[in-house]
């Protein structure tokens, strides 16, 4: 029963990790940028939700109506002000640029909120639904449902809209996309906006389930990168599957053996998968074939 509980926990927690990793993989798929700032942007999302809740008493889920647009605009602003002006060695330079963005954001957050840990403590955060001996924490149920809705929305945007076609065209061949009249700059800007917007949602759940400070971003980014590599850079569904697999492996190993070996086991699985499929579970080749 404990193993079943661990699997349930892993699936539920994996859902919101997919939300955080989704933005990272989407940005890479379109822009060939490994967004090293994604971890701190998740934490920024957590702080925004925290500030709205602590000072204006706005429920964190409701607050997403504010934080997602704000973060979306931040993403677009970062693209136009810092990524687009890069003319040479764009992949490497943009990687460094995003690292710099992350460092600046971390410094600002440290200055405003100090290094004291904070947490978003809502009334429903501690409640749970019990079915037999199985426990379903409400916050993880809500977060999982929200992840499904948001990732489903992004999926719809990618595969059922004109913008999605433009975006996928940009992913497959940016030069050809430009030749057929697609404004790849706007596609890239919107993609970064969406990626950062997803970080706002993921950050809100992170803040509800963890106490955090700006330095929390370092643990996050390493995990998010592992998820994205496992799922395949650029694949949204790959990120979802990888998040759930990672969390289920870690949680099951933690209860049947030791949490110390949970992450090690996941990384062993990751190495094995990469040996067999260097592009990850649903890496670029698979995505572009969709």
């Amino acid at each position: 029963m404990l193993v079943l509980q661990a699997i349930i926990d892993g699936v539920l927690v994996g859902g919101f990790y997919a939300l955080m990793a989704g933005g990272l993989t989407l940005v890479f798929g379109v822009m060939d940028i490994v967004n090293f700032a994604q971890g701190i942007l998740v934490v920024l999302g957590a702080y925004l939700s925290y500030a709205l809740y602590a000072h204006l008493n706005i429920d964190p889920f409701l607050g997403l109506l504010i934080t997602i647009p704000v973060m979306f605009v931040i993403g677009i602003a970062v693209y136009w002000s810092m990524i687009k002006p890069i003319k040479r060695d764009r992949v490497i330079m943009s990687l460094l640029t995003m690292f710099a963005v992350g460092t600046v954001v971390e410094g600002i957050l440290d200055y405003i909120f100090t290094s004291n840990l904070v947490a978003i403590h809502t009334s429903y955060r501690d409640s749970s639904v019990q079915v037999g001996s199985l426990v379903f924490p409400n916050i993880y149920l809500y977060a999982f449902a929200m992840s499904v809705v948001l990732l489903g929305g992004v999926y719809y945007l990618l595969y059922r809209t004109r913008f999605g076609r433009s975006l996928r065209a940009s992913m497959q061949n940016p030069t050809a996309a430009r030749l057929v009249g697609i404004n790849t700059d706007w596609v890239s800007a919107f993609t970064l906006g969406i990626g950062v917007g997803l970080a706002a949602a993921g950050g809100m759940v992170f803040g509800l389930t963890n106490s955090f400070d700006a330095a929390s971003s370092y643990d996050l980014i390493s995990r998010l990168l592992a998820i994205v590599i496992f799922g395949g850079f650029g694949s949204l569904s790959g990120a979802l599957i990888a998040s759930i697999v990672m969390l289920v492996i870690q949680d099951v190993v933690a209860v049947v053996w030791s949490a110390t070996w949970g992450q090690t086991t996941f990384y062993l699985v990751l190495v094995l998968v990469l040996l067999l499929r260097p592009q990850g579970l649903l890496g670029r080749k698979a995505v572009r074939a969709q």
Binding site: D9, L117, H121, A254
Partner: protein, 424 residues
């Protein structure tokens, strides 16, 4: 909660490391050449009226700079107190500080210099286990005793040295007051343990576990987790499934908060819950877990300003006079450094000698000293076997000192933790 086993400085670049190693090597050679006449036990500064000199390496820059400064202030407060009360054997105490930049390499050079160039009578410990370990080895090479209060990680005592003496509660003794209370007041129960794989937290948990197991308490869950863990639900689920009435957690604040939240979600409220760190964070803990969920949760601590242990009130007053601030903001590092000085002073006063070899023998003789952190009695490996760390407990929204009884303003322990949401 002050952790002695702090992580080391960030890795340096290869070039910087090579430079540092080169400089250290040259310094070692020079120090070695100049030390031939000073090897062996120091026998004092010659004149019976000359100050007694004590050398200490402190971390005034680098990762430990904050704690390093507090450590220095603690030693300075002790010296000021001692000198205001006639010094030791009628001689004033003179401290010599060298800054080590939080570097295990520099701390070796510093103690070499203090012993072989400055020819100090005694040395006392630097900040952290990381620095105390190499520092104590150097002191041992020159037959110097090293009394220290801020290097309590197991790696210090596993070196097999006979010259290192920790006046504070080492890692394995941090939960001993709690464990003794449990044995004295409760029937043997099942206990669930979990801790971060940290050089200080894990020995802390293991120390309590071995004591409690020896007294009939059965361990039903024992889980370790790495530092980077962010999802504690599986461990909390295992603890909840065990239904252990006593839960002992070796936590840092973020995981301390997370465990409370996860146990609430699992609808499991143990009878006794103690966390190594997290509940000691005051309002941050309340905000993280909710005020109504704090009741009954316990946390150990090595020192607090309101303690009535030996000379504590005088130390607090003198510190505030010298450095300002408020009593609540005095770091435990200050007390730990002050304690080191207290033990040194008591031992020298008894011996009426500044011989390090005599001092080492006396410290190993089983005599009990008094300090602002409580009694000090050294075990064979140099740990303080009489350490009596405090235990605090959340009661009605306030963190109260509850153990050991009779020290400070202790309140009775709430033996059964109120249910989640019941405040209490």
């Amino acid at each position: 909660m002050k952790f002695h086993g702090k992580p080391g400085p960030r890795p340096r670049t290869r070039t910087a490391a090579l430079w540092t190693a080169g400089v250290a090597a040259v310094a070692l050679v020079i120090a070695g050449c100049s030390s031939s006449s000073s090897s062996g036990s120091s026998s004092g500064s010659g004149s019976s009226t000359a100050p007694i000199t004590v050398g200490i390496s402190v971390s005034l820059s680098g990762d430990f700079s904050g704690d390093g400064l507090a450590t220095k202030q603690g030693y300075e407060t002790w010296a000021a107190y001692q000198n205001a009360h006639g010094g030791i054997l009628g001689r004033q105490v003179k401290l010599t500080f060298l800054s080590d930049g939080s570097s295990p390499t520099q701390v070796i050079t510093n103690y070499q210099k203090l012993i072989t160039v400055n020819h100090v009578d005694f040395v006392m410990g630097p900040y952290s286990t990381l620095l105390t370990k190499p520092a104590s080895a150097i002191a041992n090479r020159y037959n110097y005793v090293m009394i220290e209060g801020i290097g309590g990680g197991p790696s210090v005592f596993s070196q097999g040295l006979h010259n290192v003496f920790d006046v504070s509660a080492s890692a394995s003794f941090q939960l001993i007051t709690f464990a003794k209370w449990l044995v004295a007041t409760q029937q043997p129960e099942t206990i669930a343990y979990a801790a971060m794989t940290d050089p200080f937290l894990q020995p802390m948990l293991d120390g309590a576990r071995s004591y409690l197991t020896a007294h009939g308490f059965k361990s039903v869950v024992y889980k370790l987790y790495p530092l980077e863990t962010t999802d504690f639900t599986p461990i909390a689920s295992a603890i909840a499934a065990s239904k252990a009435p006593v839960v002992v957690l070796g936590t840092m604040p973020p995981d301390g908060y997370a465990f409370v939240q996860d146990l609430i979600q699992d609808k499991f409220s143990p009878k006794v819950l103690v966390e190594a760190s997290g509940p000691d964070q005051g309002s941050a803990f309340i905000k993280a877990v909710g005020a109504s969920n704090t009741g009954g949760i316990m946390v150990p601590n090595t020192w607090y300003p309101g303690s009535t242990y030996y000379q504590n009130t005088a130390m607090v007053q003198l510190y505030l006079k010298k450095f300002g601030g408020t009593a609540d903001n005095i770091s435990a590092d200050v007390a730990e450094a002050f304690s080191s000085g207290q033990v040194l002073a008591q031992a020298i006063s008894h011996l009426k000698s500044t011989s390090n070899s005599a001092l080492e023998s006396y410290l190993h003789s089983g005599v009990t000293f008094q300090s602002v952190q409580g009694p000090v009695k050294f075990l064979a490996d140099g740990e303080n076997g009489a350490a009596t760390p405090f235990v605090f407990q959340w009661q009605n929204g306030t963190l109260q000192d509850v153990l050991p009884t009779g020290v400070g303003t202790t309140k009775p322990v709430v033996a059964v933790k109120p249910a989640w949401g019941a405040k209490g």
